[in-house]
């Protein structure tokens, strides 16, 4: 983590890949894929998975009639099967300045590794992956594609990203919800240091657009523990505002506020049918993504 990645492919965490390769990363909600895949589609298709019987309407393909039911009941029924399609996974990385915080490695670098690793894993199972920077004013979105060659482009874009943008997380999320027309899995990697109700409004917007949303909330260990023994002047990475305080005296309240923020996001995500994961940058990626991968696996079993 401390070593700067030189090549785009170095962003992919080998240990995580070796651990999670073979585990299907399945979407929880039906997807609208262009090709056949592992994910449940919102359309009926020709897979082996029985879906339902439906009364035949004139004009429909007579090949899908269940002849046995017609012979027994003299009525026309269509036997429908679940369609399975591929998934569009859109990775979003918050590039606000607060993401550059980190004692040993920044949250931004950790986020890059997450995206690179997951993008590789999704591509490996034939899904389309895209990428965009949240908060960036310049055009940095990469449309989801399933071509393996696309990985190179994505990784390059991820590697080139810099956390020097101002805080525009909320409008960026609304833009993202609007810009992706087809159902997709949004993996949003951010420290979510914004108004939690506004964040959840943006998440609801994404959900309204039929997208599945996963929040990967990044923390540095210092932010979680807040152990400072001496009077410290804290300088905001976003706007340069500073506050001189005795950390030991406000620590309790700080941790309370932090916990409150996390709890709110977690509970609201649950309510919105989204997924929330808290990740600490000092934990290896193979461990950090374990909960995420497990949940995807359990979706596959259902």
């Amino acid at each position: 983590m401390s070593k700067e990645a030189k090549q785009p492919f170095d962003l992919i965490d080998r240990a995580a890949v070796s651990r999670f390769t073979g585990d299907p990363l399945i979407g929880t909600f039906p997807m609208e894929g262009s090709v056949s895949g592992h994910h449940r589609s919102n359309h009926k298709g020709s897979s082996v998975e029985f879906a339902e019987y439906r009364e035949y309407s004139p004009g429909e393909d007579p090949r899908r009639l269940d002849w046995r039911v017609m012979a027994r009941t003299d009525r026309l029924f269509l036997k429908e099967f679940e369609a399975e399609t591929n998934l569009r996974c859109q990775f979003s990385l918050d590039c606000s300045r607060s993401m550059s915080f980190g004692e040993t490695g920044s949250k931004f670098d950790y986020g890059k590794k997450i995206i690179a690793t997951l993008a590789y894993l999704f591509l490996l199972q034939g899904d389309a992956v895209g990428f965009n920077l949240l908060g960036s004013r310049k055009r940095s979105a990469l449309t989801a594609k399933r071509n393996p060659v696309h990985l190179q482009t994505l990784l390059q874009l991820v590697q080139d990203a810099e956390p020097n943008q101002e805080q525009l997380l909320i409008p960026s999320l609304h833009d993202l919800a609007e810009s992706v027309s087809m159902r997709a899995l949004f993996v949003i990697v951010s420290d979510f240091l914004d108004e939690p109700s506004a964040i959840m409004k943006a998440i609801h917007h994404c959900r309204d657009r039929k997208h599945e949303v996963v929040l990967l909330h990044l923390f540095d260990i210092q932010e979680l523990e807040f152990i400072f023994t001496h009077p410290t002047c804290f300088v905001d990475l976003e706007d340069g505002q500073s506050i001189l305080t005795e950390p030991s005296e406000i620590r309790k309240e700080y941790l309370f506020q932090l916990e409150k923020h996390i709890s709110f996001l977690r509970s609201e995500c649950l309510e919105a049918g989204s997924f929330y994961y808290k990740l600490t940058t000092n934990i290896p990626l193979s461990e950090g993504l374990d909960a995420f991968v497990s949940d995807r696996n359990s979706s596959a079993r259902r």
Binding site: T232, F234, L244, R251, L255
Partner: protein
């Protein structure tokens, strides 16, 4: 409130140290870039009120802890009835130890093998060690100047015995206490603890006689409102079997009295030592008190200058000896100093002693400077009464000499009124004590022939007890006792122009009777140690040759100007009667008087305990400060575990 180490009060400057450290810490803050600023701002806003309160409280506790530390080192002394916040310039407590140095203090203390006096000295030593600051002053009952102990270790040194060693004196503790109070007043000592070490012998206190003095002392204590505190540390002696001998202070013939605490018959051998011989007298003691009368003294003391009687040794050695001096000559030696030669001749003829020795003639004008006065016992003086105040004559009287004074012949020279009379109006003596005294009737019942006495001129005699009166009630002859001496004063002269005293029928018997009385008195010279008389014998030398022994402090036989003088411990020193606590408390009615059986628990400890109070307070403040500081760190860990 006063301080034993006032220089430590500069430590109050340290109180600003926590403020400075706090400010320095804020200046030395580290800079930290931070992402989650929104939580920080909110936390800072919410916790600022309680944090500030805790901050101020911690600062206050630290400052108070430093104040306690400063006070701990400065060692404040609180005085009763004084506010804690009163920082008036009080001085440290002066420890005044009053030591009963009477002979009875040489008895063995209960439960120890040392004397009561030595036990007292040990107690004073232990008290002085508690005295961190302030003077230690020792008063003792022999009226010596106060002993100011600046160096505490001095009490340990053996030389202290030369100052506070054993004596054969008596004690007057109320008087000594009065001296102590006077000294404290003169020295302007505002805070004092007066500790009395005494065996509470009744004779050393004489509560009834000193009731007024003790009341005054109690009043003084009350006026001082506890700044002077009086503590009595009673000492108890062991109740061992004891025998004591002492000289009964009889005016004429002294007796030796032997007292013993043992019941039953006992045969003891008394060692009787005189100048030349040492002999033993076996006595069968059957009762608690045995008197050895003057006949025994005469038998052993014949042709001796002095006698000492010693009882066999017991545990209390101080009361086993008694001393007596005897005059070698059995007849009185007289001297005459007169301004009139005829009077001188008449008196010389009348004063011839039984051995036929005529008196010495001393010139009146040399009488004031005569240093030979100790060689005679009766001094007939004729002249102005002012001659009696001359030093040598005063000394003669003080030493037990007898003066027979006749008025001056010079008209208008007398201090008393003088009256010339005409022959038709002669004075006659009509009243005198015929039963006893020098004017008593003879053994055959014949009275002095005062009826033949015709007085033409008279002068008021010296003030004193009138022995004979004129018909108009005025005194003819007076007698005045000064110390051990006596002055007889005639109102007329043995001159034809004054009276017919020169005929001798009244004058000779009176003078011979005075000679006889003087003879008895002059034979025995004994004094009490510690008395006013003993003070005049500073130059006397002990017959033991020990130069450290002085008649004022130590009983024994002393030699001065060729004469022997016996000094004994006062008889009352063997009196076992003690004062009870109740009696003492009713005599000194003050709340600042304390009966303290354990001298180690005197009020001085109150001062020395103050530092413990501040130590405790300081620890409590630091614990409170820790309480306000530590919980944050403790909860800190708890919060971490939650994640």
């Amino acid at each position: 409130m006063s301080f034993l180490q006032p220089i430590a009060l500069f430590g109050f400057i340290l109180v600003i140290a926590p403020i400075l450290i706090h400010l320095l810490n804020r200046l030395r803050h580290r800079r930290q870039e931070w992402a989650a600023m929104r939580f920080l701002l909110r936390a800072s806003e919410k916790s600022s009120r309680s944090t500030k309160l805790r901050h101020w409280l911690t600062l206050l506790l630290r400052m108070l802890a430093l104040i306690c530390l400063t006070l701990l080192i400065a060692q404040p002394v609180f005085h009763q009835g004084e506010s804690w916040l009163s920082f008036t310039g009080q001085k440290p407590v002066t420890l005044v130890c009053v030591l009963d140095r009477s002979a009875s203090m040489e008895r063995i203390a209960k439960g120890t093998t040392s004397s009561l006096r030595k036990l007292s000295l040990n107690n004073i030593l232990s008290l002085s060690k508690k005295q961190d600051s302030g003077r230690i002053v020792i008063f003792e009952t022999t009226d010596s100047p106060p002993l100011i102990i600046n160096q505490k270790l001095a009490l340990d040194s053996p030389s202290i015995e030369s100052f506070l060693g054993p004596t054969d004196t008596s004690a007057n503790l109320p008087g000594t206490l009065k001296n102590v109070f006077g000294w404290l007043e003169r020295e302007s000592i505002s805070n004092a603890r007066i500790c009395i070490f005494s065996d509470l012998q009744s004779s050393s206190w004489k509560l009834s006689q000193n009731a007024i003095t003790l009341q005054e002392l109690a009043r003084d204590l009350e006026q001082r409102k506890g700044k002077w505190k009086l503590q009595l540390c009673p000492l108890e002696t062991t109740s061992l079997i004891n025998r004591s001998i002492y000289l009964q202070p009889q005016k004429r013939t002294p007796n030796f009295l032997i007292e013993r605490s043992q019941i039953g018959e006992e045969i003891i051998s008394i060692e009787i030592q005189s100048e030349a011989t040492k002999s033993y007298l076996d006595l069968n003691l059957t009762s608690a008190r045995t008197i050895l009368n003057s006949s025994l003294i005469s038998a052993f003391g014949k042709d001796q200058n002095w006698l000492s009687l010693s009882l066999p040794d017991d545990l209390f050695l101080f009361d086993n000896k008694a001393y007596l001096t005897l005059s070698r000559s059995n007849s009185t030696v007289s001297a005459i100093s007169a301004e009139n030669e005829r009077i001188e001749r008449i008196l010389s003829a009348a004063t011839q002693n039984k051995e036929g020795k005529k008196p010495m003639i001393k010139k009146l004008k040399n009488a004031s400077t005569d240093s030979d006065w100790n060689h005679f016992d009766l001094w007939l003086l004729q002249g102005n009464s002012s001659i009696l105040s001359e030093p040598s004559i005063q000394a003669f009287i003080d030493e037990g000499g007898t003066v027979l004074h006749f008025p001056s012949t010079r008209d208008g020279d007398a201090i008393e009124s003088e009256r010339n009379l005409i022959d038709s109006d002669l004075f006659s003596v009509t009243q005198w004590n015929e039963n006893q005294g020098i004017l008593a009737n003879s053994s055959s019942g014949h009275s002095l022939p005062f009826s033949f006495l015709k007085i033409k001129k008279r002068q008021t005699p010296l003030e004193g007890e009138a022995l004979a009166f004129y018909q108009d009630g005025k005194p003819f002859l007076t007698k005045k006792e000064i110390g051990k001496g006596i002055i007889y004063s005639f109102s007329t002269l043995p001159l034809e122009t004054w009276s017919n005293l020169e005929d001798g029928f009244v004058l000779v018997p009176i003078i011979q009777r005075i000679l006889s009385t003087t003879e008895t008195l002059s034979r025995i010279n004994f004094y009490a140690c510690g008395s006013e008389d003993a003070k005049r014998f500073q130059n006397a030398v002990s017959i033991t040759g020990d130069k450290s022994e002085t008649p004022f402090f130590h009983a024994g036989i002393y030699l001065k100007n060729g004469k022997y003088f016996a000094f004994n411990r006062p008889a009352l020193e063997t009196d076992p009667e003690r004062i009870s606590k109740k009696e003492m408390e009713s005599s000194i009615l003050s709340e600042h008087f304390e009966w303290q059986s354990d001298p180690n628990l005197t009020a001085l400890s109150q001062n020395s305990e103050n530092w413990k109070l501040f130590l405790l307070l300081g620890i409590l403040l630091l614990l409170a400060e820790t309480y306000f500081s530590l919980p944050a760190a403790h909860k800190h860990k708890q919060a971490v575990h939650e994640f």
